[in-house]
Symmetry: D2
Subunit: 168 residues, 4 copies
Amino acid sequence: MDYKTKRRPVIGVMGGARVTQDIIKSAFELGALIAANGWILLNGGRDAGVMRASAEGAKSKGGLTLGILPGNTKYEANPFIDIPVVTNMADARNLINVLSSDVVVALPGSAGTISEIALALKNAKPVILLQFTPGSYFPEYEENGLLMHTATPAECIEHIREIISRRA
Amino acid sequence: MDYKTKRRPVIGVMGGARVTQDIIKSAFELGALIAANGWILLNGGRDAGVMRASAEGAKSKGGLTLGILPGNTKYEANPFIDIPVVTNMADARNLINVLSSDVVVALPGSAGTISEIALALKNAKPVILLQFTPGSYFPEYEENGLLMHTATPAECIEHIREIISRRA
Amino acid sequence: MDYKTKRRPVIGVMGGARVTQDIIKSAFELGALIAANGWILLNGGRDAGVMRASAEGAKSKGGLTLGILPGNTKYEANPFIDIPVVTNMADARNLINVLSSDVVVALPGSAGTISEIALALKNAKPVILLQFTPGSYFPEYEENGLLMHTATPAECIEHIREIISRRA
Amino acid sequence: MDYKTKRRPVIGVMGGARVTQDIIKSAFELGALIAANGWILLNGGRDAGVMRASAEGAKSKGGLTLGILPGNTKYEANPFIDIPVVTNMADARNLINVLSSDVVVALPGSAGTISEIALALKNAKPVILLQFTPGSYFPEYEENGLLMHTATPAECIEHIREIISRRA
């Protein structure tokens, strides 16, 4: 008998630990839409900002959530993370966040989020910016289509769907 | 509404990439029993030995499997891994394997497996040896009960159940 | 007897593997000035671009050079690295680059360099941009003085000297 | 002009943070002999046990010392470490310790030291045990000559010299 898995796409959601209520709302909506599409949500797992809101959104639709934690204990995870991955590698876990995602979405954040966008692009991962226009550090990636701008969670989901179908 | 997750225990299964058929059989059985108990199986994810067999066992009972990969692509995972975590950190991922597990089981293996037993014990994770009697590097951990010896997958599962109930 | 070390400042030099001859020249000059000041030069160690040129500059003045390598062998280091540190952690070594430096200088580069600027700022390391104006991702760090702009190696060295004396 | 470095061998010294005075004395002696031979001493850098004593020994002969630190600050290093490498990767830095060493020496230690021996052997690094007979986890490596037993620092140094000359 064949028990092979049918792997579901993993969507990484990055963004700040301290963000506005508007962004919290978008992160929740994005997480809900990710789950509704049957995709796995991955984020940094901590109990704050975009990490908490996007995981809560995913659980509101019965999704599966994975949190890649910087510290040394699963108790650092927010209550909407099904599977905490404990790295004890601080910001080096940012690399794992993006390498483990099929598509990376970045909501507004600070230096940590920028490092994730940079590491994702360096490793040829598609990055979709959601309500985040942080400047123009990466012109070559905008030109080659790896870095995209979107204004709403729904628009973001359209891009993800398109990327996944293209790669399937 | 409350969407909080009810987190399932994560059982890490370590062991060699090249092992005997007897050990392959035990790894499969152990994976099947882990899934039958509703626990998540975590291992090193590659397509060989104990990693493949234990994941196949878990999928044979409809379990959920997580593979922490050393390389830079999910395509390194065996076909029974539901969620590949891509680290690109080589053997440094061994630390993530044990820190992310509630209990670590070690089947026969070589230096990689020994490093995981050592890192687990150093971080106070319970380690259950299954059909593996690799010497006596860790006498203090045998004395304090963190390191246990078992002869069959069923006996191993009893220990896991006891550890989980004690910590719940 | 007291054999305690008198530790020398470590200056991290980041920047692209493929850069213009003008930047190569600046990287060499910067490395030479770092060594002439008695500081240790740290960089990513590989045999290309800013990594090679800055190390060569430092050795031209008899300096000490440290290369934090992404791969699994010291043979990846350029011939001007005295001490290769072998991580086998790919881009996760970027975090080590900045955490091990007292001051980080960033010459022009692409996504890898941006990730290092971001990780440095997130960890409160002073970052001096040299002939590099990559946009404005980090306005709050420019305001609080952690992120500085300079146009020549000599100007950059003045900033380093000032930062080191302030922290001594 | 050619400024290429003439790289000096790097000898990694592993061992416990809490050890007997006899072992402290051996670690100091070993460090002194490593420096007297013109080799660089590398260790885990912290201010305890074998890490402190071996670095102090090396500095007593004017050697160069490198400490690969688990935490997020150079202030964790003992006062005999010339160059602190700050990883913030906890036990994952054990991999860097051994990959960056040309030869690894292991004095008595507990699970952390065992993990370093295991990671070294897995990566084909020669390991010399010094006054440490921790069992027989690694019979295949003893047979193929990668794992050696020695009783005194002087005997250990003979082995290092032999390994280095063979590989030069």
